[in-house]
């Protein structure tokens, strides 16, 4: 596959918004509807697919996806725990890669010993199927059982980042819009109002 940044024609350090804009433009340009009775139809369709694939890769990049993408490529990640990895875990991981979480959960439930890897993989499955709260707990258990395993740690960090990401964006949004809608701003406004009243002969805050 070609380099996704190249396909979208953007810089390597492009922001998420840049990626989205670039995708929009190219998707419009190559949209199959525009070439419905045109000899270039096949070419456009292929381009369209390529653009979509590039977008998917970038959006589900290594740092913010849960299951079913390159970030769970067990070939390079599970080296840390390979000593304990059994063939069962390998097949669980391959189920996770194709997002067949239910099958993975069924296999995990069939196992008798619950190691750190078990908790980690279960956590990935739970988050993938929407059981975020329990997934979180299992991720913590996995990290507690094997604190030195980077794979489990990264997974937990990713989960925590999702939470903090929303909080900071919501905070920024409300700060940007409301500007000064806090105690400090409120006091300043009151003092200003008091000054204005005094100028006009009245008084809002009698003590000053």
């Amino acid at each position: 596959m070609r380099d996704p940044y190249e396909v979208l024609g953007i810089d390597r350090n492009a922001s998420k918004d840049d990626i989205k804009k670039a995708y929009r433009e190219l998707a419009k340009k190559y949209h199959p509807d525009r070439y419905s009775d045109n000899p270039l139809n096949d070419l456009a369709e292929e381009k369209f697919r390529e653009v979509k694939e590039a977008y998917d890769t970038l959006m589900n990049g290594a740092n913010d996806s849960f299951g079913g993408s390159s970030s769970y490529n067990y070939n390079d990640n599970s080296r840390y725990s390979s000593s304990s990895s059994s063939s069962e875990f390998t097949s669980v991981r391959s189920y996770i890669q194709v997002r067949r979480f239910q099958d993975a959960i069924r296999m995990l439930n069939g196992m008798s010993t619950k190691s750190g890897e078990w908790y980690y993989l279960m956590s990935v499955c739970l988050v993938g199927t929407g059981y975020t709260n329990q997934g979180f707990e299992y991720a913590r258990t996995a990290v507690n059982m094997e604190p030195n395993n980077m794979e489990y740690r990264n997974h937990l960090t990713r989960l925590q980042n999702v939470q903090s990401g929303y909080q900071s964006r919501a905070y920024q949004y409300n700060r940007g819009g409301a500007g000064g809608n806090d105690t400090c701003g409120c006091c300043t406004q009151l003092i200003c109002a008091d000054c204005l009243c005094e100028c006009l002969g009245g008084d809002l805050i009698s003590c000053c």
Binding site: K16, I19, K20, K21, Y23, R24, A27, K52, Y55, D56, M59, N60, D64, R99, T129, G130, Y131, T132, N133, Q134, F136, V162, Q163, G165, Y166, Q167, R169, A170, Y173, N174, G177, A178
Partner: protein
């Protein structure tokens, strides 16, 4: 559907507010045209969110016009309609009808039965148009009912059933946005279900009806609910951020960063207020 997904009007630009209302009125018009006057009573804000997000993603051709309507006879309203509003209208009817049917079955509420009659024709039409979606709704409501019967105390499990239903409903086309939209619907639905369950807590306690929060083994129900809601809205935001949304993104941001937050706070703190009142009353009684 309950109208928990709303805008924070005060934080929107006038233009954005007009656009939002335009989509809302567009949905209302689509209901009237396709499913008759009475179906308009099922209108709600959660469906407007569905229109916004699908319109933003697919950018279908929209028709804008100004016209009067029964609800606002004095001024002309901006109405924005597109193919997504047609879809949302059908889904709205299907959800409303199945919900009423459920209420009638469970609680034998005469009100629901009476409300069902005028919707019957609309329901038949909508289910013919989207038989698959109708099937999903019926199946999900059945699963929910089964979980209620066995008194499931796992809030996340029950909420996920509703989440998956919303996920299916958000999938508008069978294309490569499917997984993204399904996940958005999943977290959105879970969020709605949890907030609704918490909102009904007092009433369900009094009526001795099912509520997962009444059965779960935590002392701090409010804290638990808040934690779950925060978690779901974070993941919702995370999923939405993956879509290439540009048009109407500011309205979508307003909803998720401000509108939903406000609504959540008002519901979570409502309970707190009651407790405060009870406490102050108690102390007063003690003092006298």
């Amino acid at each position: 559907m309950f109208g928990y997904v709303q805008i924070d009007k005060m934080e929107l630009k006038v233009r954005e507010y007009m656009t939002y209302k335009g989509y809302y009125c567009g949905l209302c018009m689509a209901l009237k045209k396709n499913y008759g006057q009475l179906s308009r009573l099922t209108l709600n804000y959660d469906m407007t969110y569905l229109i916004l997000i699908l319109t933003s993603l697919y950018e279908p051709e929209s028709h804008c016009k100004q016209s009067r309507c029964i609800a606002h006879p004095q001024n002309k309203q901006l109405i924005i309609e597109n193919e997504v509003s047609q879809y949302a209208a059908a889904i709205n009817v299907l959800l409303a009808y199945n919900n009423l049917k459920d209420n009638w079955k469970d609680e034998h509420s005469i009100k629901s039965l009476l409300a069902m009659a005028p919707l019957k024709r609309a329901y038949k039409k909508a289910s013919k148009r989207y038989p698959h979606k109708n099937k999903v709704i019926i199946e999900s409501l059945e699963t929910l009912e089964a979980l209620e019967k066995e008194k499931c105390n796992d809030v996340e499990k029950v909420a996920s059933v509703f989440g998956r239903l919303m996920g299916e409903l958000l999938v508008y086309k069978d294309d490569n946005w499917k997984t993204y939209l399904h996940n958005i619907g999943l977290y959105m639905g879970k969020y709605i279900y949890i907030l609704d369950a918490y909102d009904d807590l007092e009433r369900d306690k009094k009526n001795k009806s099912y509520n997962p929060f009444l059965l779960c083994e935590t002392d701090d129900v409010k804290g638990y609910a808040e934690h779950l809601l925060q978690l779901n809205v974070s993941f919702l935001d995370h999923e939405i951020e993956k879509l290439p949304l540009i048009h109407e993104k500011t309205i979508l941001d307003n909803i998720i960063y401000s509108g939903m937050k406000n609504k959540m706070r008002s519901i979570l703190d409502k309970d707190n207020c009651k407790q405060c009142k009870a406490k102050t009353q108690n102390t007063r009684r003690k003092m006298t």
